[in-house]
């Protein structure tokens, strides 16, 4: 029967395909290169070049490698415990080697960020810009740009914010403000302490609107 022959061929193909390291989705194989994992696994949420479609998942293009490394290590060791972290990232990072983490961080840092849509009213974005550039003196909130760069490109452990999804930024600011689920970002607990929900929405809308430079 033709169907039987085809089925046997399928089984044969499966056997032959035991190892396909250049196009593997195996998160437990230390021989799979970081760039391969980025394309075959991470791209499902974060996009092939680190620009994600869904605001559920952060853009990673041109992200600071030190920040990416710290996050992946935080997921791997379960020190980062916010829901977005453990629901999606604990499992995928559990077997990553230090070398793969380094390769992933290098891969995303080298990607070109895509311009994001401006979302929200102009007044809100302007209010966000005010917070980003000058802080809120009456609430002892420092300007975001002092650590994340005036253009929002980030530096070292301070992540790039320019062009990040507003929804993601707002959720993470809330995590920093209300929980201790991201101990590596403990400094943000102090920074975000006095932000109102309107402040958070404003600064999130502004950083999303920041164009890549």
């Amino acid at each position: 029967m033709n169907a039987e022959r085809t089925f046997a061929l399928l089984v044969l193909l499966a056997a032959v395909g035991c190892a396909n390291t250049p196009r593997s989705r195996d998160t437990g194989n230390p021989d799979v290169a970081g760039a391969t994992l980025a394309a075959q696994v991470c791209s499902n949420c974060h996009g092939v070049t680190g620009s994600s479609r869904s605001p559920n998942f952060p853009n990673l293009a041109a992200q600071q490698p030190a920040y990416l490394t710290a996050q992946l290590e935080g997921f791997r060791t379960h020190s980062r415990t916010d829901p977005a972290g453990f629901e999606y990232m604990w499992g995928l990072s559990r077997h990553l080697t230090d070398g793969q983490i380094h390769e992933l961080a290098t891969y995303y840092a080298a990607q070109t960020p895509q311009p994001q849509r401006r979302e929200g009213k102009a007044e809100r974005i302007a209010a966000g810009q005010q917070i980003f550039e000058h802080g809120l003196a009456d609430k002892a909130v420092p300007p975001c740009g002092s650590c994340h760069g005036t253009d929002g490109a980030g530096q070292a452990a301070f992540p790039r914010l320019a062009g990040q999804h507003a929804d993601y930024v707002a959720k993470q600011l809330t995590v920093f403000q209300r929980t201790n689920q991201r101990p590596e970002g403990a400094v943000m607990k102090t920074v975000a302490h006095s932000l109102s929900s309107d402040d958070i929405a404003a600064v999130a809308a502004y950083v999303q609107s920041l164009q890549p430079r």
């Binding site: 029967m1 593997s24 194989n29 075959q40 869904s54």
Partner: protein
């Protein structure tokens, strides 16, 4: 008891039996989440299942499936699932024998259990195999129910993906036993059903018996489909199905020989879909179809003149909005089915219960099924949905049946109604659900559909379930 002209009674009984067997095969199987996949990726169920409402897949879940269940790291590929349920039919008095017609009405039952063998095998090969035990699969003459185990959904995949900044090509081959079980959208015939459902032996009117768009060939057959997903935009799948015999007989393991679908030759199946994701939104518009030649009697495949020839063509669309903590989904599916009835069953005279002549039985039957559903889940814990179903079809004297409760004196197959569901998922491995199915029309009529005073609304059913999987 129904009466027909003696000459054609046998043929009509066969047609009815065929219809009943097909209905059984078309009953939604109890497919759902597979925790072994969650262990393989280390992720929560909701990464792949929208708001944790199984089996609906997220964009990520669709890619996980299309890449052959190979993402993650190998783990123990075994999961189990069990369902407790209690269903209550609105009216159990309009019946000659309520104890038989509503045997397990309003009783908490251990309804079904499934074992899954599922997961990554190699970098390119993965499997999803479900084996289901139905605790109330059959009933003997003394009224006792008997459990039965058989193979359920099978999907063995070889897949590969070439992806870079300029292209994303996922292709693969699926060996499976149920047309559209290989599909990744929840409007596919194999996946649109509410899960879980009670076994038919415990409640015959609950959602499982309300119509879903589907393919006449049903499950327990053997197919080989090739598919391509190009730039996460265009999906094309084509393949063929044959009887599950020889090396593929495991595709129907445990299914009684008299209930197996026996096909003539290779029966083509196809699927085309356009998908677009933007922001938290995901939209799919698609079409699918199948031609199937099904032997009237699975135990006798010697005579091609006993073949039922089906042509199913469907269109479907799904919209998802997924942005934590909100999940909203809207789905619609519509299938048109045309059946060419075998010559020995077509154009046969029929008389009704009073001895009056009815029109001769049809040469062709047509059935149209529309189903639409909207659902919302908050924080993967609290959810609800509403679904509308409407089956319309040609009146055919072959459907005439004055049997009380299950009969059909209009000889029209029409069924129309709504299903409402609310559920709570305290942890991702357990779900409690309360579901209500309301019939506005049943077996072709709103009132007195069985000729003995039973109305469609008498079949309205309340269904409570506890689903657990690990």
């Amino acid at each position: 008891m129904h009466r027909t002209t003696p000459l054609f009674g046998t043929a009509l009984r066969r047609l009815r039996r065929f219809g009943a067997a097909l209905a059984l095969l078309l009953l939604p199987t109890l497919a759902a989440a597979v925790p072994t996949f969650a262990r393989q990726t280390g992720q929560n169920c909701q990464a792949c299942h929208a708001g944790g409402q199984f089996p609906e897949l997220t964009a990520y879940g669709r890619l996980f499936k299309l890449t052959g269940y190979t993402l993650g790291s190998r783990t123990l590929p075994l999961s189990g699932m069990a369902v407790l349920s209690d269903s209550r039919v609105a009216n159990t008095t309009k019946s000659d024998d309520p104890k038989a017609d509503f045997a397990k009405n309003d009783q908490l039952l251990f309804a079904t259990a499934s074992a899954f063998l599922a997961g990554k095998v190699t970098d390119n090969f993965g499997a999803f195999v479900q084996i289901t035990y139905d605790n109330y699969a059959s009933q003997s003459d003394d009224g006792h129910f008997h459990g039965h185990t058989n193979i359920d959904n099978v999907d063995l995949r070889y897949a590969d993906r070439v992806v870079d900044a300029n292209r994303d090509i996922i292709w693969g081959v699926s060996a499976n036993n149920n047309p559209s079980v290989s599909d990744v959208w929840n409007t596919a015939a194999a996946w649109m059903q509410y899960v879980p459902v009670p076994s038919p032996g415990s409640s015959q009117f609950v959602d499982g018996n309300s119509p879903y768009p589907g393919f006449a060939a049903g499950g327990n057959i053997a197919g080989l489909n090739a598919y391509l997903f190009w730039n996460q935009w265009l999906y094309v799948e084509a393949g063929g199905y044959r009887s599950a015999t020889g090396i593929a007989s495991f595709m129907s393991a445990g299914v009684d020989r008299a209930e197996k679908t026996r096909l003539q030759g290779t029966n083509p199946y196809w699927r085309v879909a356009l998908s677009h994701d933007w922001g938290p939104n995901s939209l799919m518009v698609g079409t699918s179809g199948m031609h199937a030649k099904v032997f009237d009697d699975p135990l006798d495949t010697s005579d091609p003149s006993t073949l039922h020839r089906f042509r199913d063509i469907g269109v479907d669309a799904q919209y998802q909005y997924l942005l934590d903590p909100h999940v909203f989904t809207a789905q619609v599916a519509y299938t048109r089915e045309r059946q060419h009835v075998p010559a020995f069953l077509a154009d046969q005279p029929v008389t009704d219960v009073n001895g009056n002549d009815l029109p001769n039985t049809n040469v062709f039957d047509r059935t149209n099924v529309l189903r639409a559903k909207a659902s919302y889940v908050y924080d993967a814990h609290y959810g609800g949905s509403i679904a509308f179903f409407n089956l319309t079809g040609t009146t055919d004297s072959a459907f005439y049946d004055p049997t009380r409760v299950v009969g059909n004196v209009s000889a029209n197959p029409g069924v129309r109604g709504f299903t409402y569901e609310a559920f709570y998922t305290p942890i991702q491995y357990v779900r409690l659900g309360l579901q209500y199915t309301r019939y506005d029309k049943f077996n072709g009529a709103s009132r007195n559909y069985d000729g003995a005073g039973r109305n469609a609304s008498d079949n309205n059913t309340l269904f409570f379930y506890v689903w657990a999987a690990y």
